[in-house]
């Protein structure tokens, strides 16, 4: 639910990083916080529990500057991935404008990815949103683990599992190394702002 101030020509939108537990949502935000210092507005807030698991959410506010005559601010959130935090996950998703779904490339996490995507679809539906219509980007994270001899899924397999119907942009990534993090965010922002343009017609021609 983006906030658009016509008078001040300001727009604020919300992007949520979704995905199964331990897939690297927080690591994405941590990298963004470090790498995009100029655009970051304030501090990153993480509400964690034991084992560095996100308990409530991570929050990172960004100021993108003027885009087409409008000051654009973005709030980045992560949801807690663990299954037991479903009500918190739903709460954090409320008012979302764009979603980055972070999938774990580890073979052993295949089913968790699919369940989490299904959970996203259901939660969006509960808010009257359609997973096929909301700006959505997939990131296949932890590609670097192949170098350590860990069994990871080929991109093609992940595409079949998660993106066969959605057909949204997807990027391989290694959030811990910062690979694929920037492009994922940029693409999500691009799609989100385009979608908001259709709704609010905020951009100056």
């Amino acid at each position: 639910m983006a906030v658009f101030n016509l008078k001040k020509r300001e727009i604020e939108c919300k992007i949520v990083y979704y995905g199964p537990g331990r897939c690297g949502k927080t690591t994405n935000l941590e990298y963004i916080f470090k790498a995009y210092k100029k655009q970051v507005e304030g501090e990153m807030v993480s509400i964690n529990t034991e084992g560095d698991r996100t308990l409530f959410f991570d929050f990172l506010p960004m100021e993108l500057g003027k885009i087409k005559g409008c000051d654009v601010r973005v709030q980045l959130f992560t949801v807690p991935g663990q299954v037991q935090y479903s009500s918190t996950r739903k709460l954090v998703l409320r008012g979302v404008d764009g979603v980055v779904f972070v999938a774990d490339s580890l073979e052993v996490r295949r089913e968790k990815n699919m369940l989490s995507l299904k959970d996203l679809q259901q939660n969006l539906k509960d808010y009257g949103l359609n997973i096929f219509k909301i700006p959505l980007i997939l990131q296949y994270n932890k590609r670097d683990l192949a170098d350590e001899g860990m069994p990871i899924m080929p991109i093609e397999k992940m595409e079949k599992d998660l993106n066969r119907q959605l057909k949204v942009p997807s990027f391989p990534g290694s959030a811990v190394k910062g690979e694929g993090v920037g492009i994922t965010l940029q693409e999500c922002l691009k799609r989100t702002l385009n979608s908001l343009q259709k709704q609010f017609n905020w951009a100056q021609k």
Binding site: M1, R22, I47, G51, F59, Q75, S87, D126, G128
Partner: protein, 304 residues
């Protein structure tokens, strides 16, 4: 075999470092089975002892995570942030609506003390008084303080903060949640309240605040057939919500006669949308005030 064991152990360690403790455990188990089933390993017992230590440490990690509080008390700064980030009403419209949403968000994140403070302040706002009172009772029950909740209700029933019909609605609401939670209700007004000693914390974890802020009704007949109409909820008591319909909207008034069953309704609560059904239970024309001439419509929520 030693190569296979080494590889599995390496995977287990990596999963553990990734926080994937369940996956790590499975790998350790596999290693355990391999070692136990082998007669050729010279240092079998030593390996099993080493593995046992690793599994023990892993189990401790799991235990720490499982025992961690799911709703620890947060700092004032975090609570402020939660209120700010999870209140969606425009402050320009009505600051108290936004404050109520913020307080509900605090409660949803388990920050009951902070939420109670906010709801307490909202008792001073006439338009939010009933919602605040309901949520105060909810919070006390979620915290397992059934006695405090009952005392609060009794205090409000005796005082003049709430109008008589609000008192009645609050009592019905309290009764409902006690029933839903399987808690025996204490007498509310009578001072000679008797034995409630066995009414201790059997509160469940489930904590939905089913305060409905708006509805979207899809009509299957009449002038609005096939259309979805969104209406704000002006008041709610238990499972009955009240909506204001402009006198100019004759077609809608026609569609929503008393007794009409609405099979496709989206109920918007501050935190989620529920799909369900309702029954038009009353329709009265407003006789005075800024909405004079408009209609107040009551819908009984039949299912969510």
């Amino acid at each position: 075999m030693s190569k296979q064991i080494k590889s599995l152990l390496q995977q287990a360690e990596l999963y553990r470092s990734q926080g994937l403790l369940g996956e790590a455990k499975k790998k350790y188990k596999l290693v355990e089975e391999l070692i136990s089933g082998s007669d050729k390993l010279p240092n079998k017992q030593k390996l099993l002892d080493g593995l046992s230590k690793k599994m023990e440490a892993l189990n401790k990690d799991v235990e720490v995570i499982e025992k961690a509080p799911t709703t620890p008390e947060m700092s004032a700064h975090v609570n402020e942030l939660i209120k700010k980030l999870f209140s969606f009403s425009s402050k320009d419209k009505d600051e108290s609506d936004s404050a109520l949403e913020g307080a509900i968000a605090l409660a949803k994140f388990g920050q009951f003390e902070g939420a109670l403070e906010e709801f307490q302040k909202l008792l001073d706002v006439k338009s939010q008084r009933l919602s605040a009172a309901k949520n105060i009772l909810r919070c006390h029950l979620e915290m397992g303080n059934i006695e405090t909740a009952s005392e609060k209700l009794e205090e409000w029933q005796k005082g003049d903060m709430l109008a008589p019909e609000q008192k009645e609605k609050l009592a019905v609401f309290y009764d409902d949640i006690l029933e839903k939670k399987g808690l025996k209700k204490e007498p509310v007004i009578e001072d000679e309240a008797a034995g409630a000693a066995d009414q201790e914390e059997t509160a469940e974890e489930e904590e939905e605040f089913l305060d409905i802020s708006a509805v979207a009704i899809t009509f299957d007949s009449g002038p609005y057939k096939g259309e979805q109409v969104e209406l704000d909820v002006s008041f709610q008591s238990g499972n009955v919500i009240s909506l204001i319909i402009s006198s100019k909207d004759e077609a809608l008034i026609e569609n929503l006669k008393v007794g009409v069953r609405l099979d496709d309704v989206h109920f918007y609560s501050p935190v989620a949308i529920f799909r369900g059904a309702g029954l038009v239970s009353a329709m009265t024309q407003i006789k005075s005030g800024p909405k004079k001439g408009d209609y107040s419509l009551d819908i009984k929520i039949e299912s969510l």
